[in-house]
Symmetry: C2
Subunit: 338 residues, 2 copies
């Protein structure tokens, strides 16, 4: 008789090993509850048949998937890569799998993907930032799916979250910029609509600007997508003003990359003609010319901590987490006195 071409099931293994399906199941799951003798028989049958447990069946029976879902706004640039990497590694150590999808910064897509992940039985979820419809939070609550928010921390919000204060961080950088003597600042912000991190960062600059006694009307701001290209375009626009800025503060390093690149094309020297700052400290930042002054975010720590806390939440070992991480300003060549 030819070897069966169909996919082996628990039943097949049980039959091959001459035991019941319950015993096979125990071998695969419960470490202890089976004798060394039968365990061997079973394991031999398992890899003779190349048996792999059917995930769906397991999920249905056990009501647990050891799967975590993460939805990030984009995979296009490196912003979330490092943090997610750490998140997934920590998860993996603890026996969890990670499912990632990207929402392309579109709230309705995010909502759809949340539903999909929950329907797939994700034991927990990682989402970026706070801003989403209340109905989404309600849904999650109703389903009882533990969720943790990352990449943002706002002291006035109560949802489990691990991140940093985008607003305060950017304000710190702006304070620094102003203290260096800059009085003509222009801003290239990400699109704030639907993106609380972008909005908070922008607010941070405004806070500083106002606190230093300047008029918000004198603060040119362009909002544009987080792409190199659009950062460059915004830079060109900003420098076309009659009163050129002495520094351009960007909402993240991707925009800053575009700004610096375009500066060179237009013949401006950074920082002697105009300074540029970023946010995130992606790997590329220190390799730009000049190297980029930016806000360093502890992505690895954030991802790791998020994983640990999410698992605690799932296991019921804790009911909530709110952790604020410290960022730091990295002074590099792209920022100088005016």
């Amino acid at each position: 008789m030819p070897k069966s071409l169909s996919i082996p099931t628990l039943d097949d293994v049980a039959r091959a090993a001459g035991v019941s399906t319950a015993t096979v199941s125990r071998c695969l799951n419960a470490e202890k509850k089976v004798s060394e003798n039968t365990r061997e028989k079973v394991m031999k049958a398992v890899d003779a048949l190349g048996y792999v447990p059917n995930f769906s069946a397991r999920a249905m029976a056990a009501k647990r998937t050891y799967t975590i879902g993460a939805i990030i706004p984009t995979m296009e640039n490196a912003i979330f890569a490092r943090g997610l990497q750490a998140f997934q590694e920590t998860l993996h150590e603890q026996g969890y799998n990670l499912l990632v999808s990207s929402s392309a910064y579109r709230p309705e897509l995010e909502a759809e993907q949340i539903r999909a992940l929950v329907a797939r039985g994700a034991d927990g979820l990682l989402l970026i930032g706070y801003e989403r419809e209340q109905s989404v939070y309600d849904y999650l609550e109703k389903r009882g799916t533990p969720t943790i928010l990352a990449w943002a921390y706002q002291s006035n919000k109560t949802h489990p979250s691990i991140g940093f204060d985008n607003r305060a961080s950017m304000r710190m950088l702006a304070d620094r910029v102003i203290s260096m003597g800059h009085r003509r600042i222009a801003v290239i912000s990400g699109i704030t609509d639907g993106n609380d991190r972008a909005e908070e960062r922008l607010n941070g600059i405004k806070d500083s600007w106002a606190a230093n006694g300047f008029n918000l009307d004198d603060l040119p701001i362009i909002q544009t997508p987080y792409e190199i290209e659009s950062g460059g375009a915004a830079f060109a626009d900003l420098m076309a003003a009659p009163q050129k800025p002495t520094v351009i503060m960007c909402g993240n390093d991707v925009l800053a990359t575009g700004a610096i690149s375009r500066a060179k094309e237009l013949g401006y020297d950074v920082p002697s003609d105009v300074s540029v700052t970023g946010f995130d400290d992606i790997e590329l930042a220190k390799h730009l010319h000049p190297p980029l002054t930016t806000v360093h975010v502890p992505h690895g720590e954030m991802g790791r901590t998020a994983a640990e806390e999410l698992i605690k939440l799932i296991d019921g070992r804790t009911t909530s987490v709110r952790r604020q991480l410290n960022v730091s300003i990295v002074m590099r060549g792209s920022l100088a006195r005016p």
Copy 2:
């Protein structure tokens, strides 16, 4: 009585709508086979309860998940981002979901993730390149999981694949470099072990070098991971040789980015002191200074086509695909005559 806190099932919906579960199921799946009247009742019940079908149960019963798995070597840099984006968009249009995981360029991890994805009931798989253990292919074949390989095309391989000829493409670039008069070429390659794309690209350079009558012993080569940092380090090493190269050809744009960055730090002018080339044409490439001469890969087309063909494979509308896409050389400022 308080609103039920448990998750609604097909049963709940059926009861609420006063029909059988079969009917509800039909409403949700088969477009036609239900009267307008009952369909309305059912749909009302569905969103009154906030019902979402349980994915695992559905997968078990239907033996189909409308899920595609993709395993890419890394999410750290933008190499695969654009292609994957197109892949996922096309999938989405056709009603499929995409599950992505990254193998960190580690074959054993890839194998593990393939098993996980298959166990999850993925209807099909996208993998990068050809090189993996035969046992992996055997496993896939045995399970009957349609799989398509992308980012590579070798005419002597028979597996369904959509990509480009890494070797011929790189050779084309090398021919061009040599025809411009370069006689001292050095290479920064990715790690070729376990990475056929990297190996093919390196071979492409060797092909050209040998075909032009030069000795392979006179071709300095450094293999290093695809990171900006290591590209920079390799550049420094190569330029420390007594006979400095007039051009450094890099295995991809990430390495080239590192090389150009380091060149500036070391005071070399690109291209007048040394030319640099890349491969992939990532977004950043044209924003480097000088802009990077590289091989443009049609990532979008590749992702889109891969999705279409994979679905055909799944539906049984075709049994195999082998498609070679054309690349082109993008001449930019980083390459000049010696």
